[in-house]
């Protein structure tokens, strides 16, 4: 386990409850440890680390149910800082704090991509959280004299969201690796990020639906923590562009004049 994972375990394991926000102990510990500036070079106000580390932080905090703007700070805001060569100021920083209108089209596109990547990473974390909730609940809740988890129809519901989760894990880790790779070309980075955005958006909707279904009515109460994950899963697919928009982008990417055919476009990646 990496040092970063250990630190996240300590902070999130000890002091974070689903629904915690910017007034929580967990957030204070995260910022005191500089984790809200990871993946950003020191001369831009960051603490170093790479894109995979930044992704890890966004995923893990979302999985713990922390409500924060880290998916913006560590991705599109960090990208903006890099493109403008301006350090990120102190404090809690979201994308809304910036003007992007004055950017060149290419730079606007880059910020947009990084925004989608941050949202995809956050969605993966929330999906992990919802799947955890659902699998825990079906193990302890009894109906018809046995645990819900022993009913085959329920087991298949669980299997389907576990599969969604696996697809999102691969999609996001692939996108983070591509985006952080110095060898990857612009098109393959865009293809990987767009695919992760589409996958996590579709999975978010399906996982939220199934997690609620297996919980019954208790999952709709304010008291039960499920909603801290599912309400996010309802809105995240529309953040940074919906899956329809990104699907059109994917179509255009693999049909751009530079691509010989579909397979050649899919293989224009140096890393899987």
């Amino acid at each position: 386990m990496s040092d970063l994972d250990e630190l996240l375990d300590q902070i999130l394991g000890r002091s974070c409850a689903p629904g915690d926000g910017l007034d929580s102990r967990a957030w204070r510990h995260l910022t005191e440890s500089g984790l809200d500036r990871v993946g950003i070079p020191e001369h831009l106000g960051g603490v170093g680390g790479d894109l995979v580390d930044a992704g890890d932080i966004v995923i893990r905090t979302a999985q713990a149910g922390l409500i924060s703007p880290l998916r913006e700070t560590l991705f599109p805001v960090a990208k903006l800082a890099e493109l403008r060569d301006h350090a990120i100021p102190e404090g809690v920083i979201a994308l809304d704090d910036y003007q992007v209108k004055d950017l060149s089209p290419a730079h606007r596109q880059a910020v947009r991509l990084w925004h989608a990547l941050g949202v995809a990473a956050h969605s993966l974390g929330a999906i992990r959280g919802a799947v955890d909730q659902a699998t825990s609940y079906v193990a302890i809740r009894h109906q018809f004299g046995r645990p819900l988890a022993s009913h085959q129809v329920v087991r298949h519901q669980i299997a389907s969201i576990v599969s969604e989760l696996c697809a999102c894990e691969a999609a996001v880790s692939h996108a983070l690796a591509q985006a952080g790779s110095s060898r990857a070309n612009t098109e393959s980075v865009a293809l990987a990020i767009a695919s992760a955005k589409i996958q996590t958006a579709r999975s978010s909707t399906r996982v939220a639906r199934t997690a609620h279904q297996v919980h019954g009515a208790i999952g709709m109460t304010a008291e039960h923590p499920l909603h801290y994950f599912t309400t996010q899963l309802w809105t995240l697919p529309r953040e940074a562009g919906g899956p329809e928009l990104w699907s059109q982008r994917v179509y255009d990417l693999v049909h751009s004049p530079g691509q010989a055919d579909l397979w050649a476009a899919l293989c224009a990646q140096h890393q899987f």
Partner: protein
């Protein structure tokens, strides 16, 4: 290993596709271009199960693309699993006829390397790698489909070997295979399948073996029924230990379920349609989403691929890939139907579509039905708290 620990492989990034893999892609593409130009094949769909060409397989073997990860002593060339993945992707994408050697390359070879005796490896691997010796898989039986542990074909110990009686079914190209790796019952009736099953290598030319092709709904025959009437299998053709068949088969299924053939069966059709373009927003949006899912599936397979050599086979991860991959194949046909309406009248693509449609019910059945995959996935998944 727990399911959760196993499935964490999807969040790990495998090593970058290096220059050796890119060189391998160039090399197999050149081979395929030559083979296509010389009339050795024309692109088809679902090639790995249906398209059986001794000529193509022999040429592929001679070029070093069968058993490429195996040691040199057994006819391989010690290539990496990533190099092999690139090659089999390219073969499927090109729609090349690979069914003759597919099982040998994918699972029989690795099983022989893992569990076989030195004599067995020498006897089979080099000729498999040359593309001259074909194996079929003997798992399903008339009464044992998804419930593989219930196989009834029996093997009774006799002097120097075993007497085998029973039958296998849905045996792809059983009529053209030289050998079958069969799962048989060696234990007592009622004994748990974990100890009662054994894998044996059956010479398909043995007296007492009868093979009958099964005519499918499209009029074609690639599945067979195979009957064993008191056939003799020598002790030297038991794979591994008697009674270890179940564990060995589970390992084999990891190879069988996680590869790119679980989502590339219809790709030659999709690629053809993609080349014809799309004018409507509906098609562009849905095609884009389909392609995005393919990007994700490739990333998933690449991640499982690095673990196939591990002692504990990633059986649950393979089940996830198979479930999602075969769903993609079916969805690709739904979209292909729309796409064909828009595409210029194209007889070749229409033919590929009808072929794929005729095969499509098998996508979510063969290698373990989707329902079985979901049971496997749900069984081991435990909450973290």
């Amino acid at each position: 290993m727990s399911t959760r620990a196993e499935l964490s492989l999807f969040s790990e990034t495998p090593p970058a596709e290096g220059d050796d893999v890119l060189a391998e892609r160039r090399s197999i593409r050149a081979f395929l271009a030559r083979a296509s130009e010389s009339g050795l094949f024309r692109p088809e769909v679902d090639t790995w199960l249906s398209c059986h060409s001794p000529d193509f397989t022999r040429a592929l073997g001679a070029a070093g693309f069968i058993g490429m990860t195996w040691p040199v002593t057994y006819g391989g060339r010690n290539a990496s699993v990533s190099q092999r993945l690139a090659v089999i992707e390219e073969l499927l994408v090109a729609g090349a006829p690979v069914a003759a050697h597919w099982f040998a390359d994918r699972q029989i070879g690795p099983s022989l390397l893992r569990h076989g005796t030195e004599e067995q490896r020498q006897a089979f691997l080099p000729s498999m790698a040359r593309g001259e010796l074909y194996f079929c898989i003997g798992m399903s039986e008339p009464d044992s489909g998804s419930d593989l542990g219930s196989v009834r074909t029996s093997a009774i110990q006799v002097d120097g070997g075993w007497r085998v009686n029973g039958s296998k079914t849905w045996t792809s190209h059983g009529d053209r295979a030289h050998h079958m790796l069969a799962l048989v019952r060696t234990g007592q009736p009622g004994q748990a399948h974990k100890e009662a099953l054994t894998q044996v290598i059956i010479d398909m030319s043995s007296p007492g073996v009868t093979v009958r092709p099964i005519r499918m709904l499209d009029g074609r025959e690639h599945f067979c029924e195979v009957f064993f009437d008191d056939i003799f299998v020598p002790d030297t053709r038991v794979l591994g230990r008697p009674g270890s068949g179940w564990a060995q088969v589970l390992g084999e299924l990891g190879f069988e379920r996680s590869g790119p053939e679980r989502f590339l069966s219809t790709f030659p059709l999709v690629a053809g349609l993609s080349a014809s373009g799309a004018s409507s927003d509906y098609l562009r949006t849905n095609a884009g989403e389909l392609i995005a899912r393919l990007v994700v599936l490739r990333a998933m397979t690449a991640r499982v691929n690095t673990r196939l050599g591990d002692a504990a086979a990633p059986g649950v991860a393979a089940a996830v890939v198979k479930d999602l991959g075969t769903a993609w194949e079916l969805d690709s046909l739904d979209l292909a139907a729309v796409w064909l309406d828009e595409a210029e009248h194209n007889e070749d693509l229409g033919r590929l579509y009808r072929e794929a449609q005729a095969h499509s019910p098998a996508f979510t059945l063969r290698g373990g039905a989707t329902e079985v995959m979901r049971d496997i996935i749900a069984r081991g998944w435990e909450p973290t708290r």
